[in-house]
Subunit: 349 residues, 2 copies
DNA sequence: CCTCAATGCTGCATCGATTGTGCAAACTGT
DNA sequence: ACAGTTTGCACAATCGATGCAGCATTGAGG
């Protein structure tokens, strides 16, 4: 029974209760004690409001109080294990604080990213999180102009505090693991490790590539040109590149470090066409974790980034009201092949 | 250089341009032609606004116009392939229409779901999408009281138009596929197909279970008790149940239809402990698709739901301004084992 | 009886943008 | 030169909630 065609306002409640609008406002909020409204009046007003199904209009409240109760977050895309984990954590921390999360995806396009930040600013979000920023300086400029506190996540910015994954350590550890497990056949270039996927212009990828190079150098075999194939994130291009590589080498290399799950999909598309024995002479690692990728026909060493931890730290920075330009680091976790790992939020699709 | 500590308003622009606030408002919007503001004035105002970095305050606009420009969507959770695909599509369709998407997850809890809908209403969203509703009637009641147009997705409601996946057909086809491919050993209960995972109280699961039963019956072997194990979505419980089942049967059954990817994680946790030969005597299917699950050590028949199509249809319903109580159905797609399938939005993590 | 303080509430301005109404000035036609 | 029209803009009310300032009423103290 849709009673009224318009939602009740404090004025409706005021009329019905015989009180004034300001009394109603106080009674329904927290301030009734300090405004010396009697408990009886508060009860009466509240029961009428409940009966009328009243709920505040946040646009009006936000306009008046110059706060919206919204927290914005920009992520590259929703359709991704890592970022959707971040969304989940972002939302649960927001709720803890009584804030309403608004998450938007930039598709990694700087223009889209700017448009989103602009939009969130026009909606007067109280804080903003930017994950995987493509143009952090521009974002900071906009937020500062709007006097908006913001934090960068996963990719640091110079204009605001940042929380990042320890990409260097994660990739270095993974590389060392692959070096240890790699089968040795005899001094050819097929004994080498290859890095595939990602964009060297991307902060995270750059750090991982750096770690890969350093770990190889430290092990006495600095990478030659062509051992790092940063062909982007798309499965198709990774599939193309791995095929080309195998062609060049005359077979699989001793080890492959794949920089993202999506690139790994492409690699897998190629590997699954090969006989299983070929795969035994190769060791595979992937930056990022997927429970199914952990149970393929061949062992895969994975790295699980701590999305929850990243967001937790980002909120901590927001909570302590300073504007210090800190850079906090969260450690990823190496996951051995064929490990059953229960995610914090597991449910159905 | 954070110039002003407060964002510029139309009054600031009015002062700077010598025009009135209403003229500024018209000049910056669409209505300047019908309000007969000269082009010269419009240009002048716009350039000043641009120089000042002006952008409208949506709270004020929304309050006045009684529209927020927001579209809300409730999903069970972010951290899930199917729902995060929905989010991605939801967002891109929203942008096409100049709307700002707000996505919230209910964790499948009716209380949380109601709270979220209530919150979205207080923020005056213009439309609402509810995916996988746990209490559709309550949601419809709230939306109707607020005079808010809404659509149910993935799980239908009686109080509003709905768009759902054809769970019956998807599950029936998958069951028939498994029946065809199943190895025959000799009339024991290990020849049977088992359904595992999901919640029979959940609409989608119920439809799939119904299809599973019908397909078996149609094939001449109606399922006995215990052939449907609806143990929820959590990996752990699926793992426990599949282990218990194998115990009871003295080995793997001829076929398993797993009702969700998360349940499949658990099943996999058990299967991966078995020798590969055991798996050859069994055929596995999973409702929902994951690119890695498609390349496991044994073949897996998968069903890919059309998240994009679901959202597209939901927006279509919103676009045509009627309030007819339609129920639209979108077909899922069966995916053969070891298929390389490129998702519409593929990127990195 | 009168002052003073405490109690319990109301009135009004305000936040920023939109929009119906009004009103000069410029221009048109006669 | 004068009525009538068009052009170009300003004024003020409005959306709903908030919070400051203030005003009756009651009670206590001298």
């Amino acid at each position: 029974m849709p009673r009224a065609s318009r939602k009740a306002t404090i004025y409706d409640i005021a009329r019905l209760s015989g009180a004034s609008a300001s009394t109603v406002s106080a009674a329904l909020g927290e301030s009734w004690r300090e405004r010396r409204i009697s408990e009886a009046t508060v009860e009466a007003i509240r029961s009428i409001a409940a009966a009328e199904g009243y709920s505040a209009n946040m646009q009006a409240r936000g306009l008046r109080k110059a706060r919206s109760g919204l927290v914005g977050m920009v992520i590259p895309l929703h359709d991704n294990r890592f970022f959707s984990s971040m969304s989940q954590s972002f939302e649960s921390f927001a709720r803890e604080r009584g804030l309403v999360p608004v998450i938007a995806s930039s598709m990694r396009e700087p223009g889209e990213e700017r448009r989103i930040v602009e939009t969130l600013i026009t909606y007067a979000v109280d804080y903003m999180f930017i994950a995987g920023a493509t143009d952090p300086d521009a974002v900071s400029a906009m937020c500062n102009a709007a006097n908006l506190r913001h934090v960068f996540v996963d990719l640091p910015g110079r204009g605001a505090p940042s929380v990042v994954s320890d990409n260097y350590k994660g990739a270095a550890d993974l590389t060392r693991r692959l070096l240890t497990d790699r089968p040795i056949s005899g001094g050819t270039c097929r004994d080498r490790l290859y890095f595939i996927g990602g964009d060297p212009g991307d902060y995270a990828s750059a750090r991982r590539i750096e770690a890969f190079r350093d770990a190889l150098t430290e092990a006495g075999s600095p990478p030659g040109p062509g051992q790092v194939i940063a062909c982007g994130y798309a499965p198709r291009s990774a599939m193309r590149e791995i095929a080309a590589l195998c062609d060049r080498l005359g077979g699989l290399p001793a080890g492959i470090l794949v920089n993202s799950l999506t690139a790994f999909e492409g690699v897998l598309g190629h590997l699954s066409g090969l006989p299983l024995e070929d795969l035994r002479s190769s060791v595979i690692g992937c930056y990022d974790y997927d429970p199914f990728a952990a149970y393929l026909q061949f062992p895969v060493h994975m790295v699980r980034q701590d999305a929850h931890g990243l967001i937790r730290e980002a909120y901590r920075i927001i909570d302590q009201n300073t504007n210090d330009l800190v850079l906090r680091t969260v450690e990823p976790q190496q996951i051995a092949p064929r490990t059953f790992y229960d995610r914090p939020f597991s449910d159905h699709g």
